[in-house]
């Protein structure tokens, strides 16, 4: 498991991630440094030419023209070489970055697939997607751009200072002191008393305004319907300006610090001039020193850009840390454990033995749907129906069978084997599901059905579609089975989608079926067809069905009535309606609901 190594954070974690393609990055870094060195060559050329000119200042006719031209071309070669090498460095870093990203994204997709469903249920899918993309982008930014830029800037600074120190220690030292003076002043002015707090406060405030924007946009339809757009707009507007004022105020705090920093960084020359002059004025005829002095005058202002870049890049990594730590937060979620000694189910009875279950994140929900001490057996080849008020635990029971979550206590067995001991793949092959909220892939209808059994022949797919009452409507679509679903393709009605997902399950033909009866009333024709499709699907299977319409389960072999996470009653329909209990109350309610009709003349029973 990746997450059980000692978890690194921040920069070292980033380098750890980047380290996956170490070779490429090292090459990129070396190239970037060489490029930095090359890009300094033009300065050298200028220096050499100045030297030639200074030597012959008194007698211009002695100036060696070819020598100067020679150095002019060297400057050009340095430039071309520097840029070509820079290009190579960028390519290496990007290849590394995008490979790493690919690895991260696949890794996360795999990991999320192994997590309990709760992970996605607690966080809106959109947020997960957005975070994944943004956070991964930040890693890209770091690996592909920040690392080479940092290396480049660092290499430039290092090479420059090596030269500076070789030429004149005092002036070199002065530049360094000036730099630290600038940074020091900036730090003390910006991070006085409330130091780090402000940065966090800034991100918090940004997050708040984001939440407010999402709420506003999402709420617009409702707000419009209630004719309260002005009110809602005003609130959002206030939020916006509050954020602006906050941000401006925040920036104002940085103003002096930033200005001082910029000024000092732009004034390196000012600092070295007196230092050099002190030496020079002692010995005005010293041409060697005069040359060094000139060199500093030309080069020193050039040191501020890479230094500035370096500090900016270094401080900009904070945002990248954010991204990495969020990705790590996903990685650190515990996946559902695979069986250590896998067993195969012997038979298709499903048995719940004293199962208790609680959803995590209790703090976030107002109520926690849970199961306590549930025991029952769904016999092979029989229909077991789960009924009860919403929130009673029906869906939870169904979700535990495929291990979308793991039980907190007790055991669930299929064919006598604890489902935790069955390999996930095997378990999924044993059980099929028809969920209430159907999900179709952005793909052809044919592929959408074939998901049920990737090895199925075309004929088998068509047969499943026929059995699920889909064949007819699919044939009527312009591209038949090759019609694309969703974005850019065709949108099916709810009933049609449901039948396609039934066709999928028919094709899968697993011995156990968990069925969540659709609750939404499709139009009558759709509903009729759906029922034919379901009849076909449940033939000879062990069925666990969450029933909403009590009339449909009159013939179930076993009805389990759940309330507040406990089994309230069990039996068959004929027994349960006889007893004075929850089932009978529901049955009566169901019948009156069925007889209900709209009436504007007042409330009728």
């Amino acid at each position: 498991m990746e997450q059980h190594k000692k978890q690194k954070t921040g920069l070292s974690r980033l380098f750890q991630i980047a380290g996956k393609k170490k070779g490429l990055l090292i090459i990129s870094g070396i190239l970037s440094s060489i490029s930095a060195a090359c890009m300094l060559v033009p300065f050298l050329s200028v220096y050499r030419i100045l030297e030639e000119l200074l030597k012959n200042a008194g007698n211009l006719s002695a100036v060696n023209r070819d020598y100067m031209i020679h150095w002019g071309w060297i400057a050009f070669l340095g430039l071309i070489g520097g840029l070509l090498i820079l290009y190579a460095s960028i390519i290496f870093s990007h290849v590394a970055a995008f490979r790493i990203l690919y690895g991260i994204k696949m890794g996360l997709a795999r990991h999320i697939g192994k997590l309990p469903l709760g992970f996605l249920n607690n966080t809106a899918t959109g947020t997960v997607k957005k975070n994944l993309e943004q956070d991964v982008d930040r890693v890209e930014l770091f690996v592909a751009h920040t690392i080479p830029d940092l290396v480049n800037a660092a290499a430039t600074v290092v090479i420059m200072f090596i030269i500076f120190f070789r030429l004149n220690g005092w002036m070199a030292l002065t530049v360094i002191i000036a730099f630290f003076l600038g940074t020091g002043l900036q730090m003390t002015m910006m991070f006085g008393k409330k130091a780090q707090g402000t940065m966090k406060a800034y991100f918090d405030s940004l997050e708040r305004i984001h939440a407010s924007a999402i709420q506003y946009v999402r709420g617009i339809p409702v707000v419009k319907i209630f004719g309260q757009t002005v009110h809602s707009f005003k609130r959002f507007n206030d939020d916006l300006y509050e954020y602006r004022n906050w941000a401006v105020n925040y920036c104002d705090k940085f103003e002096n610090g930033m200005a001082v920093f910029t000024v000092v960084l732009n004034s390196f020359l000012t600092f070295i001039l007196p230092v050099g002059l002190l030496t020079l004025s002692k010995d005005p005829g010293n041409m060697a020193f005069a040359l060094v002095y000139l060199f500093f005058i030309i080069m020193v202002p050039g040191a501020s850009a890479p230094l500035y870049k370096f500090t900016m890049l270094a401080s900009g990594t904070r945002e990248i840390f954010e991204g990495v730590s969020r990705l790590d937060a996903i990685y650190s979620q515990e996946p559902i454990k695979e069986a250590s000694s896998p067993k195969r189910p012997r038979g298709h009875d499903i048995m719940f033995e004293n199962v208790s279950f609680a959803y995590e994140n209790k703090a976030e929900t107002t109520r926690v749907e849970a199961l306590s001490n549930i025991s029952f057996t769904a016999k092979a080849g029989q229909i077991t129906a789960l009924v009860g008020p919403s929130g009673g635990g029906k869906s939870t029971v169904a979700n535990l069978i495929p291990r979308f979550w793991d039980v907190t206590e007790g055991e669930i067995k299929i064919g006598g084997v604890n489902i935790k001991d069955i390999p996930t793949e095997e378990l999924m092959n044993t059980v099929s599901f028809v969920f209430q909220d159907t999900f179709l892939f952005y793909d052809t209808l044919f592929e959408n059905i074939r998901v049920g059994n990737p090895n199925a022949t075309d004929e088998q797919v068509y047969a499943a579609a026929r059995a699920a009452q889909c064949h007819e409507f699919i044939q009527s679509l312009p591209d038949g089975y090759n019609t694309l679903i969703g974005e850019g393709g065709v949108f099916l009605s709810g009933g049609e989608e449901q039948r396609v997902s039934v066709a999928r399950a028919i094709l899968k033909n697993a011995p156990i079926l968990v069925l969540d009866e659709a609750t939404a009333f499709a139009d009558p024709e759709n509903e009729y067809k759906m029922q034919i499709a379901l009849k076909e699907l449940i033939k000879d299977k062990t069925v666990i069905m969450i029933a909403h319409r009590l009339s449909s389960i009159k013939n179930a072999n076993q009805i389990i009535v759940l309330e507040n996470g406990r089994i309230n009653q069990t039996g068959v329909h004929s027994e349960l309606v006889e007893k004075d209990g929850l089932y009978r109350r529901m049955w009566n309610a169901y019948n009156s609901a069925y007889e209900w009709s709209l009436n504007i003349g007042g409330v009728k029973a």
């Binding site: 033009p42 000119l53 008194g58 023209r65 050009f76 430039l79 960028i90 995008f98 697939g113 469903l117 959109g126 997960v128 592909a144 924007a213 999402i214 999402r218 709420g219 339809p221 419009k224 319907i225 209630f226 707009f233 602006r244 401006v248 104002d252 002096n256 910029t262 000024v263 001039l273 007196p274 005005p284 005069a290 002095y293 030309i298 107002t366 008020p389 495929p402 996930t424 599901f433 969920f435 009933g495 939404a520 009333f521 139009d523 009558p524 024709e525 759709n526 509903e527 029922q531 909403h548 009590l550 309610a589 169901y590 609901a593 069925y594 209900w596 009709s597 709209l598 009436n599 504007i600």
Partner: protein, 576 residues
């Protein structure tokens, strides 16, 4: 110019101050540079004319001036910084507010057809790009140009050949860059497409995670996800590999000016057309002038990228708002006169004429896709009809103030949106300033009171984002309570009530019964039994009215309604 319009979301004037003050600060920074040239000149002088010696006094004066000048630089830097940030935040805040204002005036149909995540991202993410554009990129782009431009112009007077040599390749670089932005855009689109595609696959994967698990398609086994990630990787590398050389070429062209200048200088110097000190000056300037030029180039490339965010926002701002100033007179008759309407090119409604009378219940029935929900949406002016008109109480809806119209209509639809707020406030949304008693009364009538009181904090319980911690039936009842409080004379009802568990359903039914009593009701019915008391039933088929009448008359006709009724009677008796 368009680029500045885009990056400021239509307020290019806002750039004047940030640019102005950055220019000022950069101009101020030119003085030290000039003094450094003067220093070099003095040193050279001392060697060219050894008899005069080194003018140390002058040099000390220069040094003193430079130190004193740092204060001026500081005061020039401050407003540049201040305006860049402040004006950027101003543009964002007022821009976001304008967008929000615009959004609320767009047709409901448009809003509901767009992904709210996209809109929110535009509101936040794109404006953040705009912010950076205004606060950093544009001012710095202009600032970086100050020194090169001043150098070019003043050097022209000193020695035009040298000055030209220095900058001669610049126009070529600009042309290449300009041509490149077009090619680049196409490549960027390709890369963007692969990125979007990968995003969509990821979303598909996450949304369908249960199916993925159930059908053993985790990770690589969902091949299209893997393929899209791989494609994105390849496209991205390709993009970087192809777009890099052009930028580097332009930088080469610009910086090659140094070599050109040295060559020219060498010849001119020997030919006696250039004196030593001028050449030295050119050399010093030449070693400094190209850094800002190439950084301006980089800024320009960044600007082209950020500009698109502004363009996206402007496009949305150009969506036509829904206008109208009339207000509903007295009546609530809703009449369709020869209405045709389509969402795209294809019409969904063909020349439909209907009348839904005040104080009656009209039911819309028909197979899915027949146009019944479109009729309901047109009643509430989600859209304006393509041709024909919809009148409300005799007034053309297209001429009405949408908000005033909405005050007359309540809608109870299947997907309920609750705000991240307390339950009480969610109900109070139906009527501003409703008293606690009114809220409670509405809750009671909508059969919510009991379950609300069971919640930990009763009416003050917070509802999660999207209202996810309540069951479907509970949310629905809250939305009914909200409508109850609103007390509008017309109710639009989509009976596609996800049927809940029977007890819940009875409650919802009771709530609806309370809500519609004595009002004008238009309902989309799925269970035909529900509407046997409707005053008027309109049967839709393929965008046209196929039959109209009361329950009894339609059953006798043995048309589409009769057929639907028969099918339904069979399926409700369904047993497994």
């Amino acid at each position: 110019m368009k680029i500045f319009r885009n990056i400021t979301v239509g307020q290019p004037g806002k750039l004047i101050k940030p640019i102005g003050f950055t220019l000022l600060s950069n101009i101020v920074n030119v003085i030290p540079f000039m003094l450094s040239i003067e220093t070099v000149r003095i040193i050279f002088d001392s060697f060219a004319y050894p008899e005069k010696g080194l003018d140390t006094v002058r040099l000390w004066i220069i040094i003193g001036t430079l130190f004193a000048y740092m204060i001026i630089m500081f005061f020039a830097e401050k407003p540049a910084y201040r305006h860049s940030y402040r004006d950027a935040y101003d543009i964002s805040a007022s821009g976001r507010a304008n967008l929000a204002e615009h959004l609320r005036k767009l047709p409901l149909g448009y809003i509901t057809s767009r992904d709210p995540g996209d809109l929110a991202n535009m509101m936040m993410g794109d404006f953040t790009l705009v912010e950076t554009g205004v606060s950093h990129i544009v001012p710095q782009l202009f600032g970086a140009l100050v020194m090169p431009v001043l150098a070019f112009v003043s050097l022209l007077f000193i020695n035009w050949q040298m000055s030209l040599a220095m900058f001669i390749a610049l126009p070529a670089a600009i042309v290449i860059l300009w041509l490149n932005t077009k090619v680049n855009k196409r490549m960027a689109d390709r890369q963007m497409k692969s990125k979007l595609d990968a995003g969509n696959r990821l979303q598909e994967y996450l949304l369908g995670i249960r199916v993925m698990k159930a059908y053993n398609m985790i990770g690589e086994k969902f091949e299209r996800l893997e393929a899209s990630f791989r494609k994105q990787m390849k496209e991205s590398i390709r993009f970087e590999a192809l777009s890099g050389p052009v930028l580097l070429l332009t930088i080469t062209l610009i910086r090659a000016g140094l070599t050109l200048m040295i060559l020219t200088g060498s010849y001119l110097l020997i030919g006696g057309e250039l004196d030593l000190l001028t050449f030295v000056m050119f050399l010093v300037i030449g070693s400094r002038v190209y850094d800002p030029l190439s950084s301006a180039l980089m800024k320009f490339a960044e600007l082209r990228y950020d500009e698109r965010a502004g363009e996206r926002i402007l496009n949305l701002m150009n969506e036509p708002e829904m206008g109208g100033t009339n207000f509903p007179k007295g009546g609530t008759d809703i009449v369709f006169q020869n209405v045709s309407f389509g969402y795209g090119e294809k019409d969904v409604l063909h020349n439909v004429s209907l009348a839904m009378k005040q104080g009656t219940m009209t039911a819309l029935v028909g197979p899915s896709g027949s146009g019944k929900s479109t009729v309901l949406k047109l009643c509430a002016r989600f859209y304006d009809p393509g041709s024909g008109k919809v009148t409300f109480g005799g007034v053309d809806e297209a001429s009405m103030d949408p908000e005033r119209l909405m005050q007359k209509i309540s809608m109870v639809f299947q997907d309920v949106y609750l705000f991240q707020d307390t339950i009480g406030n969610n109900i109070r949304f139906g009527k501003e300033n409703a008293s606690q008693e009114e809220v409670i009364a509405a809750a009671r009538k909508a059969c919510c009171y009991d379950f609300i009181m069971k919640l930990p904090k009763g009416f003050d319980t917070m509802v999660g984002e999207g209202g996810c911690t309540l069951s479907g039936g509970e949310k629905q009842r809250i939305s009914i309570a909200r409508a109850m409080l609103k007390n509008a004379p017309v109710i639009l009802l989509d009976e596609a009530t996800a049927s809940l568990d029977p007890e819940n359903e009875v409650e919802v039914q009771k709530a609806i019964g309370e809500l519609i009593a004595g009002r004008t009701v238009i309902v989309i019915a799925h269970r035909l039994k529900t509407i046997k008391n409707a005053d008027h039933i309109i049967v839709m088929d393929a965008g046209r009215v196929s039959e109209e009448g009361t329950f009894e008359t339609l059953i006798e006709k043995s048309g589409l309604f009769k057929k639907l009724w028969t099918i339904q009677s069979q399926s409700v008796g369904w047993e497994i």
